[in-house]
Symmetry: C2
Subunit: 638 residues, 2 copies
Amino acid sequence: MKVTFQIENAAPVVIEGNPGDNLLALARMANVAIDAPCSGNGSCGKCRVKLIEGQLDTIPSRHISEEEFAQGWRLSCNCKVVGDVTVFVPDIASAYQSRMKTADLSSPKEVAIFTACQEDLKNSGIHFENDCRAVVLTMAEPTLDDTMPDNERLSWAIQEALGVEKVKIPYAVMSKLAATLRAHNFTVCVKGRVEENAFFCMDICAPDDTRIVGCAIDIGTTTVTMVLCDLTSGELLAKGSSGNGQIRYGADVINRIIESGREGGKKRLQDAIIKETLTPILANLCKTAGINARSILRLCIGANTTMNHLLLGVDAEPVRMEPYIPSFFGWEGLLAGDLRLPANPLAKVAIAPNIGSYVGGDITAGTLAAGFWDKEEMSLFIDLGTNGELVFGNQDFLMSCACSAGPAFEGGDISCGMRATDGAVEAAVIDEATMEPKLTVIGDEGQKVVGICGSGIIDIIAELFRCKIINARGLFCREGERVKRDAYGMGRYVLATEDESETGREISINEVDIDNFIRAKGAIFSAIDTLLASVDMPMEAIDTVYVAGGIGSGINMANAVRIGMFPDVELEKFRYIGNSSLTGAYAMVMSDEADAKCAEVMANMTYLELSTYPGYMDNFVAACFLPHTNASLFPSVM
Amino acid sequence: MKVTFQIENAAPVVIEGNPGDNLLALARMANVAIDAPCSGNGSCGKCRVKLIEGQLDTIPSRHISEEEFAQGWRLSCNCKVVGDVTVFVPDIASAYQSRMKTADLSSPKEVAIFTACQEDLKNSGIHFENDCRAVVLTMAEPTLDDTMPDNERLSWAIQEALGVEKVKIPYAVMSKLAATLRAHNFTVCVKGRVEENAFFCMDICAPDDTRIVGCAIDIGTTTVTMVLCDLTSGELLAKGSSGNGQIRYGADVINRIIESGREGGKKRLQDAIIKETLTPILANLCKTAGINARSILRLCIGANTTMNHLLLGVDAEPVRMEPYIPSFFGWEGLLAGDLRLPANPLAKVAIAPNIGSYVGGDITAGTLAAGFWDKEEMSLFIDLGTNGELVFGNQDFLMSCACSAGPAFEGGDISCGMRATDGAVEAAVIDEATMEPKLTVIGDEGQKVVGICGSGIIDIIAELFRCKIINARGLFCREGERVKRDAYGMGRYVLATEDESETGREISINEVDIDNFIRAKGAIFSAIDTLLASVDMPMEAIDTVYVAGGIGSGINMANAVRIGMFPDVELEKFRYIGNSSLTGAYAMVMSDEADAKCAEVMANMTYLELSTYPGYMDNFVAACFLPHTNASLFPSVM
């Protein structure tokens, strides 16, 4: 039977189905983008399609009202095919992509944080030098008396210029050698890397094309960020980011692993990250920087264990299933060509090493960037991503754990949430008497509100709580102009009316948003609590708290403590370090020593599995209040 | 304008052309196989097509009779497009492929020669050991108490089994690691190569899949031959050959280089050898041997300099143009994946090193196989291919040169010529009185005649000359039952009538065939003459003559001397060694030491450029008689 997908703003797609086939599964087989963050278990309500012609066998869903059902709306994950059918697919592709408008390093403040971390690393004795070289060579042109073949002529010139014993010329260079030498009268630029006493050629080009480029990539579950840098000077050449295209197969790592285990799933998820996400960003950055992709000679990826595995298209199921065995923690051997990335195919792709199934390379790279691995003082490192990961320790020991926070810190799971970029509310103060807000919006003077980023949400919830507009459970308990309720009685606080906002939509935060956020912060705090308890240390033992992640440099640490997200320590102990996974990956691209140090950090880190750790669940439940059921943990708030 | 090729036994192909476009060039652009051994200069007459509809701007050709012209026959290389046109393309693809029916190692005699060469190499102290290994490993299955990731678990097991310090796992193995380990309960076979103190994994598979395979390839200008062997035992697993698909772009290396310099030419010639020739043979051999292509871990190619360059798709024009500079003589760095050969993509492909523009790896591999590089006695090595190449010397010096002989020795350029396989006349005796022949035909008892291979042609011409049926210029000078003449008076000698032959066609040799052959043998003899003169040595100095090439083990050395092809030395000095390029390549696949020895042989060899050597052309003209204009060179014949 014929299943036709009429896709908004795109050509229709037809696929042959059998009775009983799941509609969402068919859409995926046909590569029709339908957003399903819950991976098709009916819980998220995002995979809506509209029945146009024919019938579908469906079960009722709380996400589809009676009126909507009558209009033809269905959840595709809940539908089975029974005959020829035509459905309309709203432009969901853009829906999941819009969630991802993002820009790490988009503000001078973020760039300053990034740069400061690199300086700290240099001060720790890490030399920013790598194995890549570009060298301009002038050779004697061959004559009847000098008939040395091209490869030997080139090898001699390189040996002389670089003082290496051996020159390795791979096929990619050999196949263009004769033509390039002759096109430039035997004066060329050779790019490659030094390997012990040998030089491995990676490209041969015109003598004026001497730039060699590194690429650092942070692959988050929700967001992907990338920078290009000059491998010689370290200069940032271009930066960019976008959402992780895998999100339509599941908002969290578990749902994506499940999807990857289905038939063709590994390929779908790999394509979603490589073809749909990394390739377009990278191609775009090359254009911005005005470089040829073949000049990218070295890459590093900071990503969590699941993202690493899905990127490589290796089996991720063993990561999720007992006894939780990843294919690798650290692994050297990946080339850009293996993943068909738009870079020099012979470029090595370093993967920041994983520690465990749920503490990955983003954390080892981040820990490297935070720089407390050689200090005496005790530090707590908190990476606020879709997963929250923590590292606690100093030069003597490092202890790590992970908890599932959801995408709230990056503006996901929040009705008006967005990343920390232009138009985002990054800070807020509420007048206790009038309940009127005073918002700080990212962007130029006069920028109107588009949405709320993580740091803004923290401020708003802290202020709503301080002003007693919401109670400890996050429910509205005052009425007023700014507090509205929908037909079902759900309260919301209006930050910007339709007239005041950039988009013409009301920007508000409702009780579901607040509940989602409280769970997220509860997960983080209970993880901190448990981690410190596991090494028998009190909160007071913490000397520095490094806060990393896409939450934005606008984060108000006092408010984060006030809502019970971070431990109640002196505010001057907090330090926001931005996207530390990207910062660490950049250091690893620029520096062989940073790369080696990251492996060393990883080797010294212990992983604590929270899910099976006694007391963690109780801690979590207790932390799902503002600020906490145990008020004694937050003396400064009380 | 629309140019339609109606191809015999295939779907029609349409291409858009412009006025004045050459029809053959358009056909090549459209990938329509039209045989043109002369590369489209009008001299061979093979690129015939028939005009069906429309017009073509053409010039007359001696290859098209008036009658044929009236029927619509044209030489496509002589035609320009003037408007929409439809032409019929006869099944020429099969025409050039049929020239190539061939089988080195097809007879037990040839296999015995092949084996004897390997034994000689072993007796010279070459160990037949290589760096490839297959090792079956049993690992402990992971548990909650033993959570080592898969790659570390595998590395430890390999380190223990092979005593190496380091294990390198490339992406191809990493991407199937988790699944393969679990499919076989952590008992697997790993295949790879030892690199200094490391093991480089190339495949991971089921524990019963332990075979590792080498592949030796001889790429001749006319014929390609290949063997698969077990890398552990050396056993021959499969063998096969076919014509070189490049032949439709030119019968000799010069025409192919010219074609490769045209737009898209490099790609066309590379595709013709890789996709059309090597890939089908290799796939077929894998099937015959019952092995997976991924088990092929090591390859070696023996080929002349031009074939090497065209195979790699590198610029071959500099090989042909002053100052005659190839991209490489020797080059390490090629992987099977670079050429997309159906083998393990990570398998190294060794290329037997070239000596000069016209003495290539087939000769260094052949010299290796002949084994005189460590002997005191003076040897002459003759490789009878489309090019004839010679090496003269001993343990102290090696001198080489090349001459263009054409495909006559492989049965090409001879009307009833064929390779030395079933149905080929490999030897003949003619009764001087009755002029009746007595033929030796390759194959089982009762095998009828299909054609004549190189050794047969030598015998027939020698016998025709001995019986005074032809004169010293190769023209018929006796009449009789077996001697026929066509309408233009051209004589031919009938070996088998239509009734007697296997094919129902008369098998004969005519004056054009004889003339072609005399030129070929003249090229060889004059090259020998010049080479020895260059080192001031007489023919008597030669202790052994090694004869290599596809001419067949049936070669009668006395007759070869009688027609003035080989020098007039004692017959017991001759030794036929078959396809020595393949034999050498096999040795290089099986043995690291043979590989190193070949490079050493190459480094010690001097190349003599005949085309510019004083006296060579005079020598050639003098040698184009039976046996020679200077009879004193052939005392035993006279």
